[in-house]
């Protein structure tokens, strides 16, 4: 028996679900509609012709290189910072948290302008001078010895694979340091000729502009990832004999694998779409600082709509491919795939 009185007005849930689908689905339809409009505006012939342009090929190459370097740098920062924000309390944590939101909420043009102004200050100009004129000296006499010292430390403390990695890097650095005594000047000249570069209006500025924005998204993702991993497993690992660092590497990082992939994907995709900061900080010089997003702008500005659409579609295809591959890779080993 259901008790006295008329039954509650349960009825079918279909109407409710349909309402949700209409409201939410409208956004999905908008995206698909936009992409379809792009697709039908051009033809495969137009696309192929555009993609054979030397300028566009250069932009594709530069985009792939800069986005990949930016992603590595962003993760290099986001993993430790996300962990610290998730697991530790320190004075000024709220301020750090707010600062990390600035690149997310600021207009991209402002970030580009701020970077440009930064390199007009004395420290910025000094950095520009070092990379432009002193790169060879810095690498030969500062970075290589520092690498040697760091890896000697890793050799003494790390696990076997870390030791192997450290040994390899140490050997390479040792060769560099030894050569300082025999032909240090030649090494310095070689490095300067091949690696010495300006920052502003050159490749490093493209990477720095992408890094300034995309890292904020990677840090947020990593923080949420570490928030969702129970600190209890790390504590148990410590009672089993791990130091805090070992517990992080052996227990927490493997659990954060999908989060790291997501953060990397987000950083990569965000870098690919970055336009404002690059335009201000790097310029839009063909065959020098032109990435795919600036290509769309340049082609539009000279009235070549077909080339702009071709590059836009290429960016869509690359972005979707990266998202799909990462998702499949991220799910492997989890029992879902």
């Amino acid at each position: 028996m259901n008790g006295d009185g008329p039954p509650a007005a349960g009825g079918s849930d279909r109407g409710f679900i349909i309402c949700l689908a209409i409201l939410g689905g409208s956004y999905v339809v908008l995206i698909v509609w936009m992409l379809a409009a792009d697709l039908f505006y051009t033809t495969p012939g137009h696309m192929l012709a555009s993609l054979q342009s030397a300028n566009i090929r250069f932009a594709i190459k530069l985009s792939l290189i800069s986005c990949t370097i930016t992603t590595v740098l962003a993760l290099w920062v986001a993993v430790p910072l996300g962990y610290l924000l998730s697991r530790t309390k320190f004075p000024g944590k709220g301020a750090v948290d707010t600062i990390l939101d600035i690149p997310i909420v600021l207009p991209p043009l402002v970030i580009g302008l701020s970077l440009l102004i930064l390199f007009q200050t004395r420290p910025g100009q000094w950095l520009e001078y070092v990379t432009n004129k002193q790169m060879g000296f810095t690498l030969t006499f500062v970075v290589l010895p520092a690498l040697l010292a760091l890896n000697a430390f890793l050799l003494l403390t790390g696990r076997w694979w870390l030791r192997l990695l450290a040994a390899s890097i140490t050997a390479a650095a040792a060769v560099g340091v030894l050569t300082q005594f025999s032909f240090g000047h030649e090494l310095e000249v070689f490095l300067q000729r091949n690696l010495g570069t300006r920052i502003t209006y050159a490749l490093p500025s493209v990477i720095l502009a992408q890094f300034a924005v995309s890292t904020a998204f990677a840090v947020r993702t990593m923080r949420v990832t570490f928030d969702q991993i129970s600190p209890r497993t790390e504590q148990v690992a410590q009672t089993l004999g791990c130091s805090r660092g070992q517990a992080f590497w052996l227990v927490t990082i493997p659990q954060a694998r999908r989060g790291i992939l997501t953060a990397g994907t987000l950083a990569w995709a965000r870098s690919l779409g970055e336009f404002g900061p690059i335009l201000i900080f790097s310029g839009a010089t063909r065959m020098k600082t032109e990435v795919l997003s600036t290509t769309v702008f340049l082609e539009l500005s000279i009235g070549d709509l077909y080339a702009a659409i071709a590059v836009s579609l290429l960016m869509v295809i690359v972005a979707v491919a990266v998202l799909v591959i990462t998702r499949i890779f991220g799910l492997r080993g989890t029992g879902i795939i």
């Binding site: 129970s230 504590q235 148990v236 410590q238 009672t239 089993l240 130091s243 493997p254 029992g335």
Partner: protein, 216 residues
Amino acid sequence: MIAVNSLCLRQGAFSLLNISFAIPSGAYGVLMGKTGCGKTSILEAIAGLRPIMSGSIKLGNQDVSSWTPAGRGVGYVPQDGALFPTMTVREHLAFALRLRQRNPAEIKERVEELANWLEIAHLLNRYPIGLSGGEAQRVALGRALSFRPRILLMDEPLSSLDESTRGHLIGLLRDVRQRTKVTILHVTHSRWEAEQLGDVVLRLDQGVIIQEGAAT
């Protein structure tokens, strides 16, 4: 032996003051108390996972109050098991031994010994996802015992289990004590568990430890 003397703990508004008790070597100690009274905090302090304000913690004859968790050599079974989601059961049992750089043959032998004893040999290649509560607790127990600790700390290991599994694990815990001679501190809110297992039964009531002696 576990000897806690005048231990003071504080976390936010919660504090425990002047907690003292002792569990003799090889004995099975049970610490009872209501939920939220601070039992787990005491256990974590003994494991080195929670900083103490004052007092001392001795394991064996050594004051370990300022030692790291790794240095204390304590086996710890948390309430939820806290198994590592990315490791198989075999890797759980081998984890502490690998950290101690034992040779592969010794690790294999110990893993098989534990798996057979705890009746989890058929689970060795499984990941924690999908294990039942009883299976997860046995894996957590095996992981904690793998490096032959002198002290075993367990935080409500039976609380989330059904009646028949709980009865089975009670028998297993008696066996652990008999075979390993490890000193055990078992935290629970269940008097029944204390009566079934405890040589030394302690009750934490409003921040004060009351020794109730042998339970049976």
